[in-house]
């Protein structure tokens, strides 16, 4: 979706004002810690994947997206995921009081503290084989299709319609556009290099690399 999250090349946002590295804490408030921990702990239940989480965060009013801190955005996303997956209803979220207990199937999946290290260490590989032929190889010139997807996609607006060169072939990874709908399908994934001058005429000494799935790409001739 062409939302406020798709920020590459957006103008007028001002300076970055980074905190000094040695002085910046990992968290800036107690609630940020709990929000992060809750996001991961509920994610461990397996009711949604990372692409669904991203899509939940993206579906905010652009004004909210741009004014929320990133942990506020996580919180909005988590509330949305809980609602959409019937883990809580709006009244429960507003009051913090349970009306309907969770189903046994989910309670059984609750993660205990001693399981955390193993789960984090295992992670979740995005490798996913496909029977589709690999259409491009390093050195090939490709154009990002001019498409509009009113749903989740990982092809930013700033490269759509632009020409780049395949820099590397990664293999077949889970395709986020489908994964965000719950379909775990593999598609060939490439790193594509774009000249800065192709995207922004003022940037001549820059190359911008993006990871793009085969579905997003077409040959240039």
């Amino acid at each position: 979706m062409n939302g406020a999250h798709d920020l590459g090349g957006f103008d007028g946002l001002g300076s970055i004002n980074p905190e000094t590295e040695s002085e910046e804490p990992v968290f800036h408030a107690e609630w940020e810690k709990r929000a992060m921990g809750l996001m991961l702990a509920t994610g461990f239940l397996g009711e949604w994947n990372i692409d669904m989480s991203r899509f939940a965060r993206e579906r905010q009013h652009p004004a909210d997206y741009l004014t929320n801190s990133y942990y506020e955005t996580w919180l909005v996303g988590l509330e949305k995921l809980l609602l959409e997956n019937n883990l809580a209803d709006a009244e429960e979220l507003a009051t913090g009081k349970m009306k309907t207990p969770a189903v046994d199937r989910l309670v059984k999946k609750r993660v205990s503290p001693d399981q955390v290290a193993g789960i984090l260490l295992k992670g979740g590989s995005a490798d996913m084989p496909t029977d589709l032929p690999q259409e491009f190889k390093p050195g090939d010139s490709v154009r990002v299709k001019l498409f509009t997807r009113r749903a989740h996609t990982r092809a930013p607006q700033y490269v759509r319609g632009h020409v780049g060169v395949i820099h590397e072939y990664y293999g077949s990874h889970v395709f986020p556009d489908e994964s965000s709908k719950g379909n775990r399908i593999g598609t060939h994934l490439y790193n594509v290099a774009f000249k800065g001058s192709e995207l922004w005429e003022t940037e001549n000494k820059t190359t911008i690399h993006l990871d793009l799935w085969q579905d997003y790409l077409e040959p240039t001739c």
């Binding site: 990992v26 968290f27 992060m36 991203r54 929320n68 309670v107 092809a155 994934l189 820059t206 190359t207």
Partner: protein
């Protein structure tokens, strides 16, 4: 958010958001009451990323690459395996790529679409990395972004910006500072800042370290 009656209104966003402290507290107590999460599990997750997993991991990878040519070769060819061999693997580091700074090439990492970041070697991202101005400008005016971090490159250095649009995570291998010949791996690690592994700064010089202490 959290109420059920106003979300379809166009001007929803103009309502003052409720205090995140209260919202998180309500959410946590609800999910505990439902038996879906355990407060001690949340404590463990927080402790992991506040105290255990952080940029010191990445600094060990970089310092080793500076001193061990075989490891560096492996790191550039198969970063996931090379980094995993040091015990850093798993969530948000499942597919790693290391990009090397040289005399002619500087690398900068961003996630324009969200906040993708190599947690296994750098921990959780700093606020600025997740901020709208960084995400917007790193791809469109990287030199101006670098200048805001006090980083000015020689004119003949090209910049590669890596926008993390897939589950592949990028780590910058900064150049080893001059004047560090013969240094131990442990001393070299002190020169490897988090920001140098994102690419917004260079590794610290011996002089910078001295002036800090």
């Amino acid at each position: 958010m959290g109420s059920n009656h106003t979300h379809h209104h166009v001007h929803d966003h103009t309502e003052p958001p409720s205090d995140p402290t209260l919202r998180v507290k309500a959410l946590e107590s609800l999910l505990i009451e439902k038996g879906l999460v355990d407060a001690a599990t949340i404590d463990t997750i927080i402790d992991t990323y506040e105290n255990k997993v952080g940029p010191k991991n990445g600094a060990k990878v970089v310092a080793r690459a500076w001193t061990d040519p075989e490891f560096k070769k492996w790191l550039l060819e198969d970063a996931t395996a090379a980094i995993a061999s040091m015990g850093y693997m798993g969530r948000q580091g499942e597919h790693m790529k290391v990009v090397e700074n040289t005399d002619s090439q500087h690398n900068l990492v961003v996630c324009t679409l969200c906040s993708c970041y190599p947690w296994t070697v750098l921990g959780l991202p700093p606020v600025w990395y997740k901020s709208a101005p960084y995400r917007a400008r790193a791809v469109s005016e990287p030199q101006a972004v670098l200048a805001e971090f006090g980083t000015v490159l020689e004119d003949d250095i090209d910049i590669s910006v890596w926008d993390s649009t897939s589950e592949v995570r990028f780590l910058v291998l900064p150049q080893r500072p001059v004047g560090t010949e013969g240094w131990s791996v442990e001393d070299l690690e002190l020169l490897v800042s988090r920001n140098s592994m994102i690419g917004v700064e260079l590794a610290k010089t011996p002089e910078q370290i001295e002036s800090q202490s």
